[in-house]
Amino acid sequence: MTAREGVDVADPWAAIEMCYAKGWTDGLPVVPPTEPLVGAMLAAGPWKPDDVLLHEPVRDRAVTADKAAINAVMAGCLPEYFPVVGAALQAIGDSSFMLHGPATSTGGAALMVIVNGPIRERLGLNAKTNLFGPGYRANATIGRSLRLVLLNCLDCRPGVLDKSTQGWPGKYSLCFAEDEASSPWEPLHVSRGFAAGQSTVTVFAAESGHNVLSHGTADPEQLLTCFADAMAGLGSLSPGRTVIVFAPEHAGHLHRGGWTRPRTQQWLYDHAWRPLADLKRGGKVEPAFYSNPSLVDWLYRDAPRGRPALPPDPADAGRVQDGDEAVRVHRGLGPDDILMTVGGGDAGGHSAFFPSWSRGRSVPFVTKEVPA
């Protein structure tokens, strides 16, 4: 076997610096991807080196298992994490996810990965205290692998193809496990059509999370009022999707109240709205919206007098009209646009709301099985 092409360096320290010099990092040091380490990574998954795990069609880029393994080594993954990395790449590469948008847009989305099933415990994926924070190798490095693939294989470098206006720290890594034991409901992946014994990843293109703080009530409707209020903030109000991560304490209140997943989703959708007048006051209705039928449909789908027979005049986008106070503009298009999961420490009334990336519909949730 001949040695593979690469860069020769004196020692691991020089290798780390070479990766910086080549522009192959996210700003943090990487593990030098030597051939033995990459070989061990590949051997832990079911894929051949040339298998394409992700094809990005806008720029016709194909990421093979070999390139994924190199980046997973650099991210600090153990080989046993590789099936999760591969499944997550397949999920963000699903054509419905339209990766080019969340990977490049000014919106600056992070790639959220939620892990379900038995593999969570095998890999030591954290579902509890400091859920989105530091401290857990599997969480930190699986999420980081996706970002390194975007940087190194899709050229999503800041200012090159990644044009995020601000981005946010979740772009380094945003991977966590669902706390299935604390959930009042069936596990997330079961709600999405998989068996409890399967392991899965569910991905979402997420803007930065909002803490939803509530210590003062155990009443489900009072509690959910705080979530609906966060979801209806003008800053992120859109026809896009929502991820809610309930802390175990909040999930317990819903459980004791007998709130099912569909009932909770419906309640949140029904209550996460702002009057059209508020959107106009905030300049959130752009004249161009009125030439986009799907955005007109979003704005007027819950109007007392129904949808306008004629398209509104673009000049009305910024003017509050008679009746605009009574038009309820909801976050998303329906209850199914709200994905609910559970995670975090057992102590504390701190949950999280993550809005979708983009002012428009954005991209769907995608769930893929992690190969055994």
Partner: protein, 95 residues
């Protein structure tokens, strides 16, 4: 001494897989494609560029295509029209 592997796709094999189209030698009379990525002002920007090209290089016809979704690739049918009719295509984002 140790060897580290390249994590990028910028290998010679990649370049060979996606060869560049031949460059037009001049633009005089050439049909130019304008491909807006689907954001609000992409076509406005491209129209201004086409005006300048007409002044400076006397280009011929212009074929205007706007994607409906900035995140999605251009449709096969639009790509075929652009490939069949245009000597060169300019694409732009304009938000």
């Amino acid at each position: 001494m140790m060897r580290i592997l390249d994590p990028t796709l910028s290998s010679p094999a990649m370049a060979a897989a996606l060869p560049r189209a031949p460059r037009p030698r001049h633009l005089s009379g050439a049909t130019i494609g304008l491909l807006a990525n689907g954001k609000s002002n992409g076509m406005a920007l491209l129209d201004r560029i086409a005006e300048r090209l007409r002044e400076r290089h006397q280009i011929g016809d212009v074929v205007r295509v706007a994607k409906t979704n900035a995140s999605a690739p251009v449709s096969e049918s639009d790509a075929e029209v652009l490939a069949a009719r245009c000597a060169a295509v300019i694409t732009a984002i304009g938000d």
